[in-house]
Symmetry: C2
Subunit: 290 residues, 2 copies
């Protein structure tokens, strides 16, 4: 047998992890996404190339998410560790938190809302521990924990790890407890409703995929306040940002104008980007072509 | 043993294949690169997202290039097959032809000019066959073969495959025979001299990596005519394009002006981009941070 005949025949099909990486790349390339780094916009210390390297760095962790012998939290922690091998800091922490359970659902189960719920239901205390360890790799904007989880504060990860072990809190329960204030927690709570809705909108759209992605990004921000804005500023600012996005949809404001006003106020709709990354992954897996 | 303890510790280090993929992503993101698709420019049917998907698609083939049990030509052919899983057509055929031997040199040998020469020296007739098969996946701009290889014309791949088998022409010999007219052939002939020089320039530069890459791209085009321009147009046009790049370096023309004039004449310095991708890979492996 020649060496060549042992070559894999599968090189033309993306693995779930590769599709998730491509989703991260398409997300950051979509433009305009006012307030976020995108193909046409950098922040001063957080630039486009950091997101490219972050997506590549996350690949090994995303591949681990597809392996049933690796804990979901450990896959997430490794994806974050790899993402952090660039100098920009936190590029895709939230996007990976959305993507990791979806990659597992695709690889071992079904990439449906029920399939995603099943992945969340199977999370363990070890996944919670690994989740807290992921915060070691990068600075992430976080709020106070909800009152019922006051002892699970990522700002004191050692105490939080002890608390989730003592109280046997799995990763699903940990994130779902924050669903009222954190849009990613809400996805974990309700089977990724918005993520799957974004995927439907992406597939129903027309034209180049990056144009569709930018349009869906705006819809997503207009539909519900971005919870990263609420954490970094306050609920009123998040509400205001969504109203500005709605004004663009209604033709009452220009994208350039809201980009300028978001930049001026350092408004970064990061959770909207995280959900778009998840939606792009689902859409790619369901046949969206690039 | 818990599932978690089996997790790999290596997620924070890029594999050679991942670094090559990142090099492709950084190459297309660098802007301005007049005449080429880049972060700020699309062509009408060949857009930025096609290069993102092309880079991701190439990963499995690039990973095969790191495996000594896979023929180098087969790894290249699989990389091209994966690259072609997007709707833009040929995005990175030449870049992969530069990268595949460098990935092998890094993984099994040394990423030096001697190491690259050794990889080329070890190529086989089977590698030539796989190289011709790669043209099945995508339309590539090619010229007549050189007279000594008139029977090895990619435009009749079956006949070319028969010819390389009968005449026992390995991939190195095939590409080196075209070194006078094709800059990638020249790299194969002389141990990737320009690629390693590009890597040195990238590492010696300052500022964001994409800005360095765009500056080195311009230097590379100014230094020698782009052989893709020569193939798609003629030697005079390629010479003219390099003189325009030199004029920008000397402050006698603006990047915007040459971008407009290249676009108007459909001038696409693609080989310059291919060499930059190779140089970015070498620079990343030698410590260039993103």
């Amino acid at each position: 047998m020649s060496p060549d005949s042992r070559a894999e025949p599968s090189a033309t099909e993306r693995t779930p992890a590769q599709a998730a990486m491509l989703a991260l790349l398409l997300e950051v390339a979509a433009t305009p996404t006012p307030g976020n780094v995108d193909r046409a916009h950098d922040h001063s210390d957080l630039r486009f190339e950091h997101f490219l390297a972050g997506a590549v760095g996350a690949l090994d962790g995303l591949s681990m998410a597809a392996r049933p012998d690796v804990g979901l939290g450990r896959a997430f922690e490794r994806a974050v560790a790899g993402m952090a091998t660039q100098r920009g800091g936190n590029t895709q922490f939230g996007g990976l938190l959305v993507l990791v359970p979806l990659v597992r659902a695709q690889a071992h189960g079904a990439l449906t809302r029920d399939g995603a719920r099943a992945v969340v239901d199977r999370t363990t205390v070890a996944d919670s521990v690994a989740f807290f360890e992921a915060f070691d790799h990068v600075d992430v904007a976080v709020d106070e924990p909800p009152p019922a989880l006051a002892d699970c504060d990522v700002r004191d990860a050692d105490a939080a790890i002890q608390a989730v072990r003592e109280r046997e809190i799995d990763l699903g329960a940990l994130l779902v407890a924050d669903a009222a204030r954190n849009a990613i927690g809400r996805e974990y709570a309700d089977g990724f409703e918005r993520t799957f809705a974004i995927a439907r909108r992406l597939r129903a759209g027309e034209g180049p995929v990056l144009d569709r992605a930018a349009a869906v990004w705006l819809d997503t921000l207009a539909d519900q306040p971005d919870t990263l804005i609420a954490i970094q500023h306050d609920a009123e600012t998040a509400q205001w940002a969504s109203e500005r996005a709605q004004a663009v949809r209604e033709g009452k404001a220009s994208l350039d104008a809201i980009t300028a006003s978001f930049q001026e106020r350092s408004i970064n709709p990061g959770t909207t980007a995280d959900l778009l990354a998840g939606g792009l992954f689902v859409a790619l897996q369901r046949g969206l072509t690039v």
